[in-house]
Symmetry: none
Subunit: 125 residues, 4 copies
C-alpha cells in the first residue's frame, strides 16, 4: 500500500482552495491518508464552522469505501440497500463532495473532500 505524502496532500488542498476562490465559495478542505487518518486540513476564512466535521467525515467516508461519497448517498436513502449506513464509523457523510485520490498507477492513496475536490484530487496524480 502506497501512502500519500504531506507534499501531495498540500498540493491537493491548494488546488482545491484555488478552485474555490475561482468559484467564489468558502470551503473546508480535508485530506486523509490511505488508512483514513487526517493528513492535511485548511478552513478558508469565513467558511462554515459546521463543515469542519462534515469535511473530515466526507474525506473518511470516501476512503472507507473507495468511491465518491455521493455514490453511497444514492444507496442510503429510505428504502435503499444501504439505508442509514451513516450510523456506522462514528458518523458518515454520504452527500457529494468526498472523492478518492489515486496515484499514477491508479492506487487509492488518500481522499479529498469537496465540491472542488476533483480539482484537488487531480493535483496529486
Amino acid at each position: 500500500m502506497s501512502d500519500i505524502t504531506l507534499k501531495q496532500a498540500r498540493a491537493a488542498v491548494d488546488a482545491a482552495m484555488e478552485k474555490s476562490q475561482e468559484l467564489g465559495v468558502k470551503m473546508n478542505i480535508t485530506v486523509v491518508d490511505a488508512g483514513a487518518n487526517l493528513k492535511a486540513f485548511a478552513r478558508m476564512d469565513d467558511a462554515w464552522l459546521g463543515s469542519i466535521d462534515i469535511s473530515t467525515k466526507k474525506a473518511r467516508t470516501a476512503r472507507f469505501f473507495n468511491m465518491n461519497t455521493g455514490e453511497i448517498g444514492k444507496l442510503s436513502q429510505p428504502g435503499g440497500a444501504l439505508y442509514n449506513i451513516e450510523h456506522s464509523n462514528g458518523g458518515l457523510i454520504t452527500f457529494p463532495g468526498g472523492v478518492p485520490i489515486k496515484n499514477r498507477s491508479g492506487e487509492t492513496i488518500g481522499e479529498n473532500d469537496h465540491i472542488v475536490a476533483a480539482t484537488g484530487a487531480g493535483a496529486v496524480s
Copy 2:
C-alpha cells in the same frame, strides 16, 4: 445459555471467506457470541476499511434482536414502527447481511455478518 466456541466462530469465518472468494468479493467478517460481544473477526486483504465497523454493528444488531438485520431495516424506514432505531445501542446497521447463528437445537448462540453470512452461519450447526 449455550454459547459459541472460538472453534465454531472460526469455522463460520472460514466458511464465509471461502464463499467470498468463490464470489470474487472482499469481505470483513465478524462473529459475536450469545452476549453480543466480539468473538472472531477477519478483514480480507483489500476489503473496505469502512466495513470493519459495519460488519461489527451488523453482527451485534442481528444478535440484539435475534433476526436478520434486513428484517429490522424493513421496520426502520420513515413512517415505520421502528423508525430510526439505528440511533440506539451506539449505532445499529439494519440493511441485510447480519444473520443469527443457531446450534443444532435451534438456540441462538451468536451472529455472523455478511452477504455470505448464511454460508458462515450454516458451518456452525
Copy 3:
C-alpha cells in the same frame, strides 16, 4: 473578537514544521481559531498516527483556558485543584505542547500545538 486568518494559521504551521525539521522530529501540527475550532492541520510524513488527536486536543485545550497546556497539567495531578479535568470537553490533553497564539495587541486569536509550538506562535504576531 479578532480571529486568526488562514494565512496566519498556515504561517504558524510552516514555522512549526521548519523548526521540527531543524530538530529532526516528525510532528502533527494543529492550529485552532479563537472559537477553538480547527483552522489548519498538517501531519509530517512518518509522524505518529496517535498524535493527530493529541495535537488537536492540545490546541483546543490551550484555547479553552488561554494558557499553555502544561500549566493545566500542573493542576490536574492527583490531589490537585483540577484533578482529572481531562475528562471534560470530550477529552483534554494537559501535558506541554499547546500554546496560545496572540496578535500584536496581545489578544488571543488561536492556538498552536507542540514542542515547536512557540516557534509557530511567534510567526503570527
Copy 4:
C-alpha cells in the same frame, strides 16, 4: 508503507493463542494494520469480556506510537511527561501487552496485543 496481510495477521493470532495455551491463560488477541485499523481478532473461550476493548485499544495504541504500550505507561503516570494521554484517540491503554509488528526490513506493518504478543509478532517477520 507496506501493510500486513490477513495471512500474516492470522499467523500472529495463532502463535499468540498457542503461547497462551502453553501458559494456561485465556486471551483476547487483536491485530491492526499499518493504518491502525482492525485486521484480525480472536477471543479464546472463557477469556474476559472486558478485555475485548482493552485488547483492541492496546493494539491501536502500540501502532499509534510505534512502541510497546508499557513504554507509554511509564510516561503517563501522575507527574509524568505524558500524564493522562489515555484521554486521547477515543481511549488509549498504556499498560504492557501491545507490541509493534515489523516486517523483515524492520518496517512497522501492524500491531498485536498481549502478554503473549511478542510470540505473535515474531511469527510474522
